[in-house]
Amino acid sequence: MVKGKNEKEDIEIDAITSKGVEFGYGEQPVLFDITFTIKKEEFVAITGPNGSGKTTLLKLILGILQPRKGEIRVMGYSTKERDKIMNLIGFMPQKEHISSNFPILVRDVVMLGLGARKGIMKPTGKADEEEGIQAIKSVGLDEEIWMEKFAELSGGQQQRVLLARALAIKPEILLLDEPFNGVDIPSQNKILDLISDLRKKGVTVLLVVHNVNPLLHHIDKIMLLKNRIVAFGKPDEVLTDKNLISAYGASIPIIYCEEGYAHPVYSDIHG
């Protein structure tokens, strides 16, 4: 154990490594042969058609699910050591999975995250609240929003509150599940600017998206999934006709923007 610790201090460890991971709910694997390395401070998008295992992979990284073969390590720790990795990962869920048909305030939402990290039964104090407000400001929201009802915010504001909740715990890795669903273009850009700032501060960012287009100019790498890794690398290397057919089972037209990025035109192929 001691040796392992020293190793971690001495050599540069990768943010996330996955070796030969396989996972399935039944006999049929949802994910298999998943081997990849995400380095610190990288900005990676995971994409692929519906049912390709995108969200399952996020759950494996979070340690919510455990692989039936292989191993995932987060900052050197196995995902079996959940208490260790939880303190390293900030997570933003899909807004659609949230139920806010009650007057929960922005404050409550952000403090739930901080409270969970502290120990859900321990009381949170002024200092924690101060951290929460800082997180709200850091996502470009006004401090006044702190006491407003979550349900009454716009989709983009709600998404940023959830991002603030993830950031309040000062994570080293940020996982975002479909952060742009129901978010208008200006809010998307605000979130993207924020992610750029975070990376400068050394945060590794991993997003699951069904549409990579809003991100293409910002990300370092794309992982194209179809129950296995079809391709993983720089956007232009991944978004080729061959890879897209392999993932989506149909040819997806690619257009090149003025800056030379390849944009897949999903039309109605994606979910």
Binding site: P93, N101, F102, P103, A116, I120, R165
Partner: protein, 272 residues
């Protein structure tokens, strides 16, 4: 008899104590029922409880005396576990089926103990004026216990109600807290059984919190308003039943549900 004399009659004092306890349950469990969006569990648990009570009455007939409320608690908690075990999409169906199964059992048990069937029917209708001291001790103890659990796990319950996926990702044992919260709600439903009856438990446990959820501007107020609405409805029920000899539980439930509809209107007019 003067009103002041009636007010100190033991049965009246017990009814008033019963109302206060009901209001606490309507505030704590009722509000979490709304947050967690599991109102059907209250209907399912209260009716399952009938089957449990009937079984324990049946056991009593065959020489194993036991408090029917214990049987009611066991069956209600079983329903909560069925609801917790089912996936999110299947929750209501699972509750509905255990509801139906319990009612089948209840009727089966009643048919086996015809001479004591009135005992079971009294739990279906309930009566605030028939609460015994033993009932009150049990209800007080259990209500206090649920209140402590709700305070202790308040943040966990809130987190899993708002965003269970996020709660899991932030390290909470969502499954365990979900079972605990659903059991808490089911237990509260049983606490109302003797006072207002299985048929009206839904009205008294869910309607006050549903109304206050429409009116409140923060979470704390949901709990406070739900308590006040349940308490006032209960007292008005007792008062009217004293003058007109009608069921106090029915009046209280009628009032609580009416307040819900007005609160819906109020919210629409306010333009929220």
């Amino acid at each position: 008899m003067e009103i002041s004399e009636v007010l100190v009659q033991p049965y009246m004092l017990r009814a008033i104590a019963g109302i206060i306890l009901i209001a606490i349950n309507a505030s704590v469990a009722g509000s979490f029922t709304i947050f967690r969006n599991v109102s059907f569990l209250v209907a399912g648990a209260s009716h399952s409880a009938l089957a449990g009570a009937a079984l324990f009455i049946l056991l009593g007939v065959y020489g194993f005396p036991a408090n029917p409320l214990i049987g009611a608690l066991l069956f209600a908690i079983a329903t909560a576990f069925v609801a917790g075990y089912a996936s999110k999409e299947e929750t209501n169906t699972a509750i509905g089926i255990s509801f139906a199964m319990s009612m089948s059992l209840a009727i089966l048990f009643i048919s086996m103990i015809r001479e004591y069937a009135a005992k079971v029917w009294s739990l279906l209708i309930g009566d605030l004026f028939l609460l015994t001291y033993e009932d009150l001790y049990l209800i007080t103890f259990v209500t206090f216990l649920s209140l402590m659990i709700a305070l202790l796990f308040y943040k966990a319950f809130l987190f899993i109600s708002f965003d269970s996926e996020g709660a899991t990702a932030f390290g909470l044992n969502t499954r365990r807290y979900n079972y605990l919260l659903l059991s808490l709600i089911a237990i509260s439903a049983v606490m109302l059984l003797k006072g207002v009856g299985a048929i009206l438990v839904f009205a008294m446990l869910v309607a006050p919190a549903a109304a206050s959820n429409e009116l409140a501007s923060n979470l704390r107020d949901v709990f406070i308003y739900a308590f006040i609405i349940a308490l006032v409805s209960g007292f008005v029920g007792i008062a009217i039943s004293f003058f007109f000899e009608v069921s106090p539980g029915a009046i209280a439930s009628l009032l609580a549900t009416t307040i819900y509809f007005f609160s819906l209107l109020a919210r629409r007019f306010r333009g929220d």
